[in-house]
Amino acid sequence: MQISSVLDKQNIVFDLTIKTKEELFNNLALSLENNGCITSARRFIKDLKKREKEASTGVEEGFGIPHAKSKAVIKPTIAFAHVDELTDYLALDGSRVECVFMIAVPDQANNTHLELLSFLARKLMDDQFKASIKMAKDAEEIRSILTSLGGE
C-alpha cells in the first residue's frame, strides 16, 4: 500500500493567507469534509483541539502534525497544508509552523492504515524529507515526493 494513497490531491492546500492555527484547522477540516473523508468538520476540529491541549503537535523546523482519532472520521486520511508562518502554532524548536500533515484516523482503524501513518510520522524526522516538502510548490510535487517514498 502506498502512502500517497491516503493523501488525496484535493486535500493538499497552499494558502499564504492562512495566518492562525484556527484558520488552518478550519480550512483543512472543511476540505476533508467536502471530499467525504470526515462526516463533520466541527466534530473533527473539536477532537483535534482536544489532542492539541495535551501537548502541541508542532514538531521541528516549521513542521506540525496535528492529528486525532475521531468518530467523525470515515476513512484514514492525510491532509497537507503549506501556509504562512503561524505565530500561534510553534514547533518544539520554537520555530513557527508553516507545513502541516494533518492526520485523521477513525475510532477503529485497521492496522495497515496505522502503519502507513506511523511511517509518515517517522519520515518527518528526516531532514532531507522535510526540506523537499518545504520546497515543493504545488500538490503534484507533494504527491510525487510521497509516492517516491513508496510504502511499507
Binding site: E54, K69, M125
Partner: protein, 463 residues
C-alpha cells in the same frame, strides 16, 4: 552499549513513532545497539525478556502511564516524547551517564504524574470497597441466616434464644458488620500510602464507626490517613542513620495522631449530621419520592452492569446499611437481578431475535440473575448496546421503584433469590417477588420490542 526503550503517546499515531525514530537514529549514530518498542495504536517491535535483561540503558519516552514491572531492577531514564524528539542526543548521553535516572523496583506500577492523579481517587475508593465487600457479603448473609431461626433467636434474653443463631449474629452483625467501615478506610489508606497506610486507615475507620460518621466518615478518614501517612513517610527527609527508626516509630505515631485528632474533633460531628440527615431523609421517603429514588437506583444499576456506575450506587446502598437504612440495598439487589433474568426470559419468548450462542448463554442467565450477578447481562449488552441497555434500564427502574415504593427492606446485601426466602430477611416478600416478576417481564418485553430479528444466515453461521 545496548540501549532499549519504549515510546508511547496518548493517541498512538504520531509522537510515539517520531520519538522512536529520533532515539533510534541518535543511538545508531553513536554506534550503540538499539531497539525501541513503540506502544502506539498497537504495540510493535516488542522487547523480549532477554533484550531487557541484557540492556545497559533503558529510555522511556512516554506521555502516558506504562507498565514498568518488566524493567524491575533496571536503571531507567524517563522523558516526554517531545523531549525525545527535540533533544535525543542529550537524553541518550544523560541516560548513559546515569543523570536523572531512577531504579525501578519490583513492585512499582507506573504512576506517571499525569495519570495517577486523574484516576487516583476513584481507584483508591474502589480498593477500599474491595477490602470492605467480604465483610459485608459474608456478614449480611450470616445475619440473614440467623434470622431464619426466628427474629429474636439471637437475643440471649429472649425465650426463643438459639445458640447457633446467637453465634451467627455475633459473627455477622457484631463482628463482620462492625469491621466494615474500618476495612473500607484501611483499604483506601493502603491504596494511597501502601502498607504504612493500613494502621492509620484502620484507626480512622474505627473512629468513624464509633463516632457515628459511618461510611462517609470512613471514606474521608481513609483518604486523610492515606495522604497524611504518605506525606510523613516520603516527604519528610531524615538522616539515613535514623531512617529506619523514623519509619518504624515516628511515621505511625505522627500519622495516627493527626488522623485520629482530625476524626474526633473535625470530621465526626459534621459528617454524622450529614449522615443522620441522609438517613432520616431516606427512611422518611414517601411512596412518591421512594419511587423516584427507585428509578434512579434501577437506571444506575443497569447502566453498566457491574461497572463504575453500578458500583457507585450499590456501594452507596451498602454504606447506608451501616446506618440502618435497608431499603436502597433491597432495590439495588432487585435492579441487579432483573437484567439477566429479563434477558433469559427474552431468549425463550423471542427465539428469532437471538443467535444460538445467545440462547445458550440465556440459560446461564437464569442462574446468574437469580444469584444477583448482573454481569451475566454483559454479553448481550455488548452485542447490541443501543437496544439492550435501555431495555435493561427500564426493567430495572420499574423493579427498583416498586421495591422502594413498597418500602421493601433487605437485611442481606447480596445473595439474590437464595437469601430472599430465608424468613425475616425481606420485610415484605410478596411485594418484592412482585417487583422481581414485573421487572423481569418488562425487561423481556422491552428487548422483544426493540431488538430486530436475526437474519437466518446469521443464525446458522454461529453454530
Amino acid at each position: 552499549m545496548k540501549i532499549i526503550g519504549v515510546t508511547a503517546c496518548p493517541t498512538g499515531i504520531a509522537h510515539t513513532y517520531m520519538a522512536a525514530e529520533k532515539l533510534q537514529k541518535a543511538a545508531e549514530a553513536e554506534g550503540h545497539q538499539v531497539k525501541i518498542e513503540t506502544q502506539g495504536a498497537k504495540t510493535e517491535n516488542v522487547l523480549t525478556e532477554q533484550e531487557i535483561k541484557e540492556a545497559d540503558v533503558v529510555i522511556l519516552a512516554v506521555d502516558k502511564g506504562i507498565d514498568l514491572s518488566r524493567f524491575a531492577g533496571k536503571t531507567i531514564k524517563k522523558v516526554s516524547t517531545s523531549k525525545a524528539i527535540k533533544d535525543p542526543i542529550t537524553i541518550l548521553e544523560e541516560a548513559i551517564r546515569g543523570e536523572g535516572t531512577f531504579q525501578s523496583s519490583k513492585d512499582t506500577e507506573e504512576n506517571s504524574s499525569v495519570s495517577s492523579h486523574k484516576k487516583g481517587l476513584y481507584s483508591h475508593f474502589m480498593n477500599g470497597v474491595n477490602y470492605m465487600l467480604p465483610f459485608v457479603i459474608a456478614g449480611g448473609i450470616l445475619i440473614a441466616i440467623s434470622f431464619a431461626f426466628g427474629i429474636e433467636a439471637s437475643d440471649p434474653d429472649s425465650g426463643k434464644y438459639n445458640v447457633i443463631a446467637g453465634a451467627l449474629s455475633q459473627i455477622g452483625g457484631g463482628t463482620a458488620f462492625a469491621l466494615m467501615v474500618p476495612a473500607l478506610a484501611a483499604g483506601i489508606a493502603s491504596s494511597i500510602a501502601g502498607r504504612a497506610g493500613f494502621a492509620p486507615g484502620l484507626i480512622a475507620g474505627t473512629l468513624a464507626a464509633a463516632g457515628g460518621s459511618g461510611f462517609l466518615g470512613g471514606m474521608i478518614g481513609g483518604i486523610l490517613a492515606g495522604y497524611v501517612t504518605d506525606f510523613t513517610a516520603t516527604k519528610i527527609h531524615v538522616k539515613q542513620s535514623i531512617s529506619a527508626i523514623f519509619q518504624l516509630i515516628v511515621v505511625p505515631l505522627i500519622s495516627i495522631t493527626i488522623v485520629g485528632m482530625a476524626m474526633v474533633f473535625l470530621i465526626d460531628t459534621p459528617i454524622s449530621w450529614v449522615l443522620n440527615g441522609l438517613t432520616e431523609f431516606l427512611n422518611g421517603l414517601g411512596e412518591t419520592s421512594g419511587l423516584m429514588f427507585g428509578l434512579l437506583i434501577g437506571v444506575m444499576m443497569a447502566a453498566d452492569m457491574g461497572g463504575p456506575i453500578n458500583k457507585a450506587i450499590s456501594t452507596f446502598s451498602i454504606g447506608l446499611m451501616s446506618a440502618g437504612v435497608n431499603a436502597p440495598i433491597a432495590a439495588c439487589m432487585m435492579a441487579g437481578m432483573t437484567p439477566p433474568l429479563g434477558l433469559a426470559l427474552a431468549t425463550v419468548i423471542f427465539k428469532n431475535k437471538f443467535t444460538l450462542e445467545e440462547k445458550t448463554s440465556g440459560k446461564s442467565c437464569w442462574v446468574l440473575g437469580a444469584s444477583y450477578i448482573t454481569e451475566g447481562a454483559i454479553p448481550f449488552a455488548v452485542a447490541d448496546p443501543i437496544r439492550v441497555i435501555p431495555s435493561l434500564m427500564v426493567g430495572s427502574a420499574v423493579a427498583a421503584s416498586i421495591s422502594m415504593a413498597a418500602g421493601v427492606t433487605s437485611m442481606a446485601p447480596h445473595g439474590g433469590v437464595w437469601v430472599m426466602f430465608i424468613p425475616n430477611v425481606i420485610n415484605n416478600l410478596p411485594m418484592y417477588l412482585l417487583a422481581l416478576v414485573v421487572g423481569t417481564l418488562v425487561t423481556a418485553v422491552m428487548i422483544g420490542l426493540l431488538k430486530k430479528p436475526i437474519k437466518q444466515e446469521a443464525l446458522t453461521n454461529t453454530i
